[in-house]
Each structure stands twice: as structure tokens, then as C-alpha cells.
Amino acid sequence: MDFNFTEEQSMIRDSLARLIREKYDFDTRRAALSSELGRDAAMWAQFAELGLLMAPFSEEDGGLGGNAIDAMVVMEEFGKGLVTEPFIPSVVCGGGFLRSAGTASQKEHHLGGIMSGEQIFAFAYAEPRGRYNLADLETSAKSDGSGYVLNGHKAVVIGAPWATHFIVTARTSGGQRDAGGVSVFIVEKDAKGVSTRDYPTVDGRRASEVYFENVSVPAEHLIGEADNGLPLVEQIADEAVAALCAEACGVMGVAHKMTVEYSRQRKQFGTPIGKFQVLQHRMVDMFMEHEQSVSMTYMATLKLGESEIERKKAASAAKVKIGQAGRFVGQEAIQIHGGMGMTEELAVGHYFKRLTMIDAELGNVDHHMKRYTALSAGDVSVAAE
């Protein structure tokens, strides 16, 4: 048993932290987010330069030989700096699908692009009426002999405005929520029949509704087995959940630190509010929630490679804990900052917003609690879902 980071991981952490500190301060970030593009694309290039985008890939795939722990390190730093760049959509999800199930040709076409940052993937899984159920799909992919024809509407695809490619889940057979009959495709954003409606999100990112109208997808763009894509989708979603948890830990840690710092300086009735025992204990509770979230994130990340049921339980348990902790830490960070915490101008509110929205991503507390409970009861149908 070992909770140490490798030298490479520590290096990644340090250089990323420095880069963010120097090039992505609060005002720079704000300007980038409110620009038309909604990001500072130069950051992405620098991340690529640092090797971040190749860190979690095996050497065989052309990467640095790292794994999910490297992604965890990256995302925790992203969280600390509220970085909105599409590491999870492109590297964790796009890269994850390719790494786990991509054909040699698919890898050849895309892995290099992902690692260099030239290709950006977005993961188009959610649908307007499907909530967090990954199998609840109305998007269809009909085989037409040489390939597939996609029709459907994907909701709130994070990072889609910046994407060059989508990973799209679609139903190739079965009923709307059946575990069987799900297939996964790579779709180029500029393919004929693909259209998007782009918008900002409440926490400063960009997303799109993505529409597929008779989009022809060649058979070689199918990732993994036809009709049996759900286990793969669940696996990648769990990897994304672990990375999201790591991000949340970064966010929470800073929100907590800012709050403690503020409470030391802010005086009320002539006393720093950090001297009020009620606020002290609340900041202690924030501290404990953060510590436990870090523990759960380690746990979930380390268990990504274990049996399917262990992996799923671990990811869901972590997401539950992080959802609850994030809500508490975010709300109390605002409360202790008082009126100032309510202003756009202070950073803490943005940390609060990001924590809030992390819970609403890839399944909220209730969703993962239910999944965890079903897995604990050994309910095979849900376990397979």
C-alpha cells in the first residue's frame, strides 16, 4: 500500500501549478472566459508542451506511460485554478475510449492529435430526456450496409464548441433504456448533418446542444463492439468521474483556504471573524470534508483497474461524497465570506459555482447513491446498466 506520487507525477503537478499561477490568474481567466471563443487557446498549447495531454497514455500509445493517477494530478491543479480547458472531455474521455477500445487505425488517426492538442474531443452522451442514465438514449444509429446513419439530439455537451470530434453514444438496437443495443462512434464535428447550438455555462465553460440529422458515419468509426458499448461507456464515465472528483478536491481546497484566510482578516464587532467559535468549527468541518474527499478520490482512482463492480462502487461512492462535500464547502465558503462572497468580483463565488455544477455533471448525489445501493445489493441489471 502506498500513497506517494512518482517523481514524474510530482513534476507534472509542480510545473502545472507554476504555469497556472503565472499565466492563468483570476483576471486573465475572466477575460478569456468572456471572450468570444470563451477560452485562452494558448493555454492548451502550453499544456501540450508540458506533456500534460500525453501523461496518462502508455508509451506504446505514444504517451508518457502514466495512468489515471496522472489525470488525477492534472485535474486537481485544474480545480485549484478553475481551469476550464477540456482535459476531461478530450484526454480522459476521448483518449480513454481510444486507449481502451480503439482500433489501430483509430489510434493512429486520433491519439497523436489528442496528445498534441490539435484534436479536441467532446463526449456527447447526455440527452434532453435521459438525465444521468447513460443507457437512456433516443439518438439512433441505423446500419446502412457500409456504415451507420445517426439521428438525434445530445444535450449540454461540455467543450463541444471547441471540439474537432465527438464521441457519440447511440442506440443501434433495443428499447430506449435497455443495457444492450448501445454503440459508440467517433463523429467529426464538420461531418454533414452535424449542427450545434453553443452557449456558455453558469460556471464559465462552454457547451453545446449537438444535433445529428442523417449523419453518415463509416463503420470504421465505431469504437468497441456494436450493440455492446455500454460497459465501455460506463468504464470511461467512471474514469471521468474520478477525474472530476480530483478537480472538485482542488476547488474545495482553495475555497477552504480562501475562507480561512478571509476569516483571519475580516473583522466584525472589532474581532476577526475567524475568532468566532461557530465559524471555526464550520471551517473545521469544511477541512474534514475536503480531506475525506481527497481520500475518496484516491480510492476511486486507484480502484479504476479493479473488477467492474468494485470500480463502479468506488466511483459512485466517491461522487456521492464529493457531491455532498462540495455542496457544504461551497455554501459555507460563501456564507463565511458574507456579502463579499456574493460578488462576481471575488474569486470565491466562482469556486462555489464550479463545486455546485460538478455535482450536476455525470450523475448527482442521488444518481450515484442509487447506483451504489443497487450494486451493493448485487442487482445485476443495474450493475450492468
Binding site: 437512456d136 455555462t201 456564507q335 456579502g339 460578488t343 455544477m357 442521488d366
Partner: protein
């Protein structure tokens, strides 16, 4: 002990309900206070002004309705039931009681009618940067210069000051006083006076509801002071006690729960209505039960007031529980929105930045509303301060 309204009260309720139904302006939708124009804010106020129902709590001689506490309760319930945009509190509920209780006859004559008519919009100049719930730590100074005060300082959280004609300000007139509560005066200021600058504060939901107000050598006639010089804290406390009534927001939260139930009936989870999900339904039940507890606690408080007990520190319970419930409502609404809680369309359609919100109607506002409502446990004396009050005043600790 019984829960029934008397026949008179029922008749009154029917009258009020009919009046609202016939007269409430149909186009006055609420979408978040800062999205409304001045005219939208004042639409119902002006109709009520004609009817004489703007200020039920005022003494009849100044324009009050003479209603009993129960009638006033019915009035606010009925308005809440249609989500009516009520007359803003800054004039009607805050400064007016100070003016008619402590002001001169000239002040009463000058200000009260225009508050009733809605002609003059008021804002508050209480809070200062860094003061938070410690309202007595006033740094803005008013220095006597002949028959004027010269005022310098900075106020913050001045709600909707962008629309305001007048403001009531706490200013320090005696910097030598031995306690922060002493040496403060209560001064009415025309917001068009030179030297006043109102700067927007944008909140985390992206809205512009509050402002910073900077005062630089603002000259205000001494006659604009209410009551005695240096006695302003007395009037301020009186005003704050008035501010707290109605803070429980029971009727509005009831409407909110209904709305939540209704939208959770159209949202789906695994193909079934979200409201049939045991976990979500349970959360609504819990909220409704907490709201019932608040409702009957408020009714007990009202019954006490009707018997002459003033709104004491018990009203702190109403503040704490009322705001917790309001916050919880927005939290569950955001949860119901699922993925569609993410998109951000603030400013639509005025600023043209985005063509048309995405997802169900309520969804685009769900996250901003949740963010915005975090303010409720901070303002009006934070919920921590309210607990300090109960601890000291009721438990004697």
C-alpha cells in the same frame, strides 16, 4: 384554539382575492428582480395606490388600511399566491415608519404621499463596506456646515439604487462618541444631489440588484435629518425591527413548492416522472413539512402579536427557517433541471447575446436563482447573528 377564519375574515379574503384577480397586471412576470424595469416594478404598486392598499401596516391617518393582523396576513398570502410584485420595502416598510414615527410634520407631508403613490423610489444607505452585520460601525461622516451637512463616505449593498430617487442614510455626526451606536444621524438624501455616484455590484448569478454608493462632499439640508442629531441608531433599530416582519415568506415558499411539484412532474428519471422517484419525492415532502412547521410558528407569532406582544426575538426563527427553506427550494429546482442546469442565458433577450434559452422553461434561471438566494442567509442580519440574538435575548446565554 381553532384554525378557522371568522366569517368577516373569509369575506375579506374573497374581496381581496377578487380584487387581485381583476386588477393584477397580466404581463408582470417575475424573472429575477434585476430583469425588471422600473415600470414593471411599479405596475401593481400604482394600482394599489389608487385603491389605497399600498401600506396596510401604516396608521390610518397616514394612509394605512386599518386592517387587523389577520387581515394583513390574508393580504400577503393572497398576493403571494399569484407571485405578485409587491411595493418595494425600502419606502413603504422601512423609511416611512421612521418618518411617521419620528419625523417632523413637514417631513411627513413631503415624503409619505409620494411613497404611497410610487412617485418616489427609495433605497437604503445602511451598510458600509466591511461592516457586514455590524450595522453600527458607520464610517460615513456628515459634517455640519451652516444649514447643511457635508457628507462623505461609502455605502454598499444599496439594493436597486439604480432606480432610486431618494435614500435614507446613516451618517456619523459625532466621531467622538464613546460607543459606535452613539453619534449617528438618520438623513434623507435626494439621490440626484451632486457628489453621489452609484456603481453596480454584479453578483455571482450575473445579476445587477445591488450597488455601491459613493458620497463625495454631498451637501444635504439639515432639515433632511429625521429626529434628533446623534440619535439615528434608535431610529435605525426601530426600522430593522419592522424590516423583519414577513421575512418568513411562507406564502411565497408554498407557491414555490407547488411549482417544484409541477415541474418535477414533467421532468423524467429513467422514463418516469421525477416526482415519482422516492428520493426526490422525499425531499419535497421534507421541505413541505419544514414549511408547515414554519407556517404554524409564524401563525403562533402573529397570534401573540395580535394579543399585544411585539415582534420579539422570536422573529429570528422566522428569518432563519424562512431563508433556509427558500434556499432549499432553489437547490431542489436546480437539481430537477439536471443537465439543463448548466446553460447560462442571463440577459436574454435584451442583450441579444443568445438567441433563445435551451431546455425546459424554468431551467435556465435555476442555477442563477440558487446562486442568488445564498444572499438570504447573509443579509438582514446573517443567520449566525440571528442565532446570537436568540441565544442572548431568549436563552439568556
Amino acid at each position: 384554539m381553532n384554525l378557522e377564519f371568522s366569517a368577516d375574515e373569509i369575506a375579506f379574503r374573497d374581496e381581496v382575492r377578487a380584487f387581485i384577480k381583476e386588477n393584477y397586471p397580466q404581463n408582470a412576470e417575475i424573472r429575477g428582480a434585476d430583469d425588471l424595469t422600473r415600470e414593471q416594478f411599479l405596475a401593481w404598486h400604482k394600482i394599489l395606490a389608487k385603491k389605497g392598499w399600498v401600506a396596510p401596516a401604516w396608521p390610518v391617518e397616514y394612509g394605512g388600511t386599518g386592517w387587523t393582523a389577520t387581515q394583513r396576513y390574508i393580504w400577503s398570502e393572497e398576493n403571494a399566491a399569484v407571485d405578485a410584485i409587491m411595493p418595494l420595502p425600502f419606502g413603504v416598510a422601512m423609511v416611512a415608519p421612521v418618518i411617521y414615527t419620528f419625523g417632523s410634520q413637514a417631513q411627513k407631508d413631503r415624503y409619505l404621499p409620494k411613497i404611497l403613490s410610487g412617485e418616489e423610489w427609495w433605497c437604503q444607505g445602511y451598510s458600509e463596506p466591511g461592516a457586514g452585520s455590524d450595522l453600527a460601525s458607520v464610517k460615513t461622516t456628515a459634517v455640519r456646515d451652516g444649514d447643511h451637512y457635508v457628507i462623505n463616505g461609502q455605502k454598499t449593498w444599496t439594493t436597486l439604487a439604480q432606480h432610486a430617487d431618494w435614500g435614507f442614510f446613516l451618517c456619523r455626526t459625532d466621531p467622538e462618541a464613546d460607543k459606535p451606536q452613539k453619534g449617528i444621524s438618520f438623513i434623507l438624501i435626494d439621490m440626484k444631489t451632486p457628489g453621489i455616484e452609484v456603481r453596480p455590484i454584479i453578483t455571482i448569478d450575473g445579476g445587477h440588484e445591488v450597488n455601491e454608493t459613493w458620497l463625495t462632499d454631498v451637501r444635504v439640508p439639515v432639515e433632511n435629518r429625521v429626529g434628533e442629531e446623534n440619535m439615528g441608531w434608535t431610529y435605525a433599530k426601530f426600522l430593522l425591527a419592522h424590516e423583519r416582519s414577513g421575512i418568513a415568506g411562507v406564502a411565497r415558499s408554498k407557491r414555490g413548492v407547488e411549482r417544484l411539484r409541477s415541474l418535477a412532474s414533467t421532468e423524467l428519471l429513467d422514463g418516469e416522472p421525477l416526482i415519482e422517484d422516492r428520493d426526490f419525492a422525499r425531499k419535497i415532502s421534507q421541505l413541505e413539512i419544514d414549511l408547515t412547521a414554519l407556517e404554524f410558528t409564524e401563525l403562533r407569532t402573529l397570534a401573540g402579536e395580535a394579543q399585544g406582544k411585539g415582534p420579539g426575538p422570536e422573529s429570528s426563527i422566522l428569518k432563519i427557517k424562512g431563508t433556509e427553506i427558500q434556499q432549499r427550494l432553489t437547490e431542489l429546482t436546480l437539481e430537477a433541471a439536471g443537465n439543463y442546469g448548466h446553460p447560462y442565458f442571463r440577459g436574454f433577450p435584451e442583450d441579444g447575446s443568445n438567441a433563445r434559452p435551451i431546455g425546459p422553461d424554468y431551467a435556465p434561471a435555476s442555477a442563477p436563482l440558487y446562486f442568488n438566494m445564498r444572499k438570504t442567509s447573509i443579509y438582514g442580519g446573517s443567520n449566525e447573528i440571528q442565532r446570537n440574538i436568540i441565544s442572548k435575548m431568549i436563552l439568556g446565554l
